[in-house]
Amino acid sequence: MNQISPQQKPALWQRPMLVVWTISLFILTIFWLFGKPYLAWAFKLPRGWQSRLRYHISDAANWLLDDASFFGLFTFTEFTRSIAAIVAVPYDFVLSIISTGFLEGVGSDAIQLLPPLSWIAVIFLVFALGRYARDWKLAMLAAGCFSYLAIFGQWHSSMITLASIIIAVPIGVGFGLMLGIFSYRFWWFDRAISPILDLMQTVPVFAYLVPILVFFGFSPVAAIIATVIYATPPMVRITILALKQVPSELTDLGNMVGCTGHQQMWKVMIPSASESLMVGVNQVIMLSLNMVIIASMIGAGGLGADVLASLRRLDIGAGIEAGLAIVVLAIALDRLSQALAHRPPDPHYTGPKRSLLQRYPYSLAGLAVVIISGLAGLVWAGFQRWPEAWSLTTGKSANEIVKFININFYDQLDAVKTALLLNVLIPFKRFLLSLPWPGVIALLGLAGFSLKGWRLAVLCMLLGLFIVFTGLWPKAMITVYLCGISVIIASLIGIPIGIMAAEWKPAWNITQLIIDTLQTLPSFVYLMPVVMLFRVGDFTAMIAVVAYAIVPAIRYTSHGLKHVSEDLIEAGVVSGCTPLQLLTKIKLKLALPEIMLGINQTIMLALSMLVITALVGTRDLGQEVYIALTKGDIGRGAIAGLCIAFIAIIADRLITAGADRIKTRLGLAK
């Protein structure tokens, strides 16, 4: 950890941490170079030292699965299955409405009692919703997005995906709201839930897919449950924040008019916080869409399953089409929910009494279109389902492009890949793998101590030791190596782009468009073209991770630069700084904490993407989780998932502490 050099250099003895660092690094180097023959255990953990935790977890899960029961009334499995059954009821209902229609009987003998909503009806409904939420423009956008789904033959899968989103979002919002309210009201609950939320947001999704798969079975409902678990934590946080931000005058008001605790919450706090809470709802929607592909691994079906299937058979065209359909769905739902969140309530109405049609124009028009298009569908099926003959596809051309690149540029691409692999990736990987673990742990502790204090030091060392004794150290090091290299490359590309975007307006407009798009793309979409071009392996994984994780590096850099105080910039200009001096001597220095937080976010995204790149054959912790998923091994998945989470937590805490230190020194801390 570099200390930033202060203006006047104090003598060496005045900076004890520097001395300690120098000595430690020296000792570590000696240890690393010559220690192996004497202290073999420090380089490779003896088998007998490995913790059996993962087997205990698996045993505990098996016990839950086979023997556990609640007071002898019902077993744990019955409990989980009944939750699944409860969630299945609304899901089936929604699915019937928008996809399958209401059926009598099962399988191919089923008779359709009532057809599902026709494509015309659904498109009109989102159109009307867009008009109601904001304006004609939004209405056109929403209708356009859904028309794309119909025209490009993604309708059927999209409706299945939409059905699970429609169910997952209210459940996630409801739970998030309840937990948030609880944390707001009871400090002990807040204390208890806060580390769990931290963990939930750092453990890779795959890790908890395993227990969900085991307890809830392979089904759309299990996928909904996984989605809810993934999407709820931000809602909890936003709820807590929104409630805390309610002006104290309003809480005083509630007390002064004599509200009971319940009235205070539901009549004063929640309505006043509703705008911020809607931001949470939007978050839940977006995260649920993020989960679409991953959730299809445990039975979600729909668009996610299409992407996954085409990834497995390397059909890039089909994969991109389904992936784009997810993006389109995401854009429509994102814009609609944001507009609804910021929709100003209708102004007061004092005119004469209005008819039903005047009061509910959109709902009634929607109802009319639903009925008419349903009846029309009986006359000609094309009104009910978009005729297949009319469907367009771009899949072929995408495949052609990739084929073309591969045929014509294979050598060049391969040369780049090989050069980077041989000169950068592999040496770095070897270096990390050769490090003795006690040395790394000691360095972590030292970093924690010098950045914040002994508490952070202990935390970092304990988390590190956990990884050591699970026996997953080598895999963890590969994760660190892939993540580290990707983050470095992402920063090297992202920070200059961020600087350019902040300094030059036209660049900002383009950049913003690009990073907004990158952020809505589901992580899998990045994998497909890269796999096509570079085959499987570490290099491919790295490219995909960089593409996915670069956004925060850009965003935070330009945000940090743009928010440097005007006064300081003017002071610089008045002192006669050239634009370059202004940038390097004032803006970048003051934006440093913000840039560090951007890198922190980049690391978090990189770690979450790494788990997904396990699909293209990396040998890191992600692969471990993925294997656990395919084998249904709860213990193995949980331990590997925790290891990834711990790496993320260590990185996060250290970087945040570093940024805080710099902020304090610059006088920016609040």
Binding site: D252, L253, N255, V257, C259, Q263, V268, P271, P347, Y349
Partner: protein, 341 residues
Amino acid sequence: MRSKSPKLVCDHVWKIFGDLGKAQHIIDAQYWPPGQSDLDKYNLIGAVQQVSLEVFDGEIFVIMGLSGSGKSTLVRCMSRLIEPTNGRILFNGEDLLEKTSREMIEIRRHKMGMVFQHFALLPHLTVLGNVAFPLEVQGIARAKREERARQVIELVGLKGRENYFPRELSGGQQQRVGIARSLADEPELWFLDEPFSALDPLIRREMQDEFLRLQSMLRKTIVFITHDFDEAIRLADRIAIMKDGAVDQIGTPEDIVIRPATDYVAEFTKNVVRAKVVSVRSIMKPVTGRPAIGEVAGTAKVSQIVSKIKHSDGIFAVTDEDGERIGDISRDDVVEILMQG
């Protein structure tokens, strides 16, 4: 005018902010009260320090102080929105600090009303909904509470805007809603926490007049918080001036202007137009027996008799409420006050 029974009494009220965990001993009875050095030592803030005051039935009691003087904390202690660290708050002779939270809810529902600096209107409710809100919380049926709400809305001059949302109103109108709401449940004790500070000067003046008009009709017991000394002397029957959590002086506006207790208070009174505050009674000379060419009331402010007296050379008789001559006043006496600014 006002009967001399205290409606609300603060008896050695303290509010200390900060982590008292390590400083438990300093709030023990035997060391009480803590000195400033004790507070500093444990990083504590004595936001309200040993405040004792009485608010009488039907009077406008203004608590004036600059930001950080503890006035907002004090008014919140009076309604127990903030729990005082020590002392007693007597409301109608009963100690509020001994009430259960259920009893406090009942007291606040029926006996207290409060107006807030930034209005504290609920954004999702119309004017009618906001004003009816205290009654809704009490579980009063919609028709009944809306009837009552319409009455107070009319009282504050917002008739016709019942269905507007707060964001459709100007600041002054929003505060009228706040005032209407605080009056909806007919409180005995009316707290106004810097009600006009967020308004433009012109509107502020208009709202002060409106407030005085309402009070002349309603005769509530009022605790009014402000940081504006001119507002304080314009509205108050009595003023308490706070500094650093403690009360520097309590008195009528006239008392405070004529006899400031501390340099700090004197600093505020320096720019006050004395003629507007000082009553005829307090500058009159003893009765001389010379014939008077006119009569003025002893309770009138000097500024109110200027036009009457300015062209006359003779002596005016000063009378009390019963018309009894209690002193004399001449043009010179008035000029002297006017010269003081």
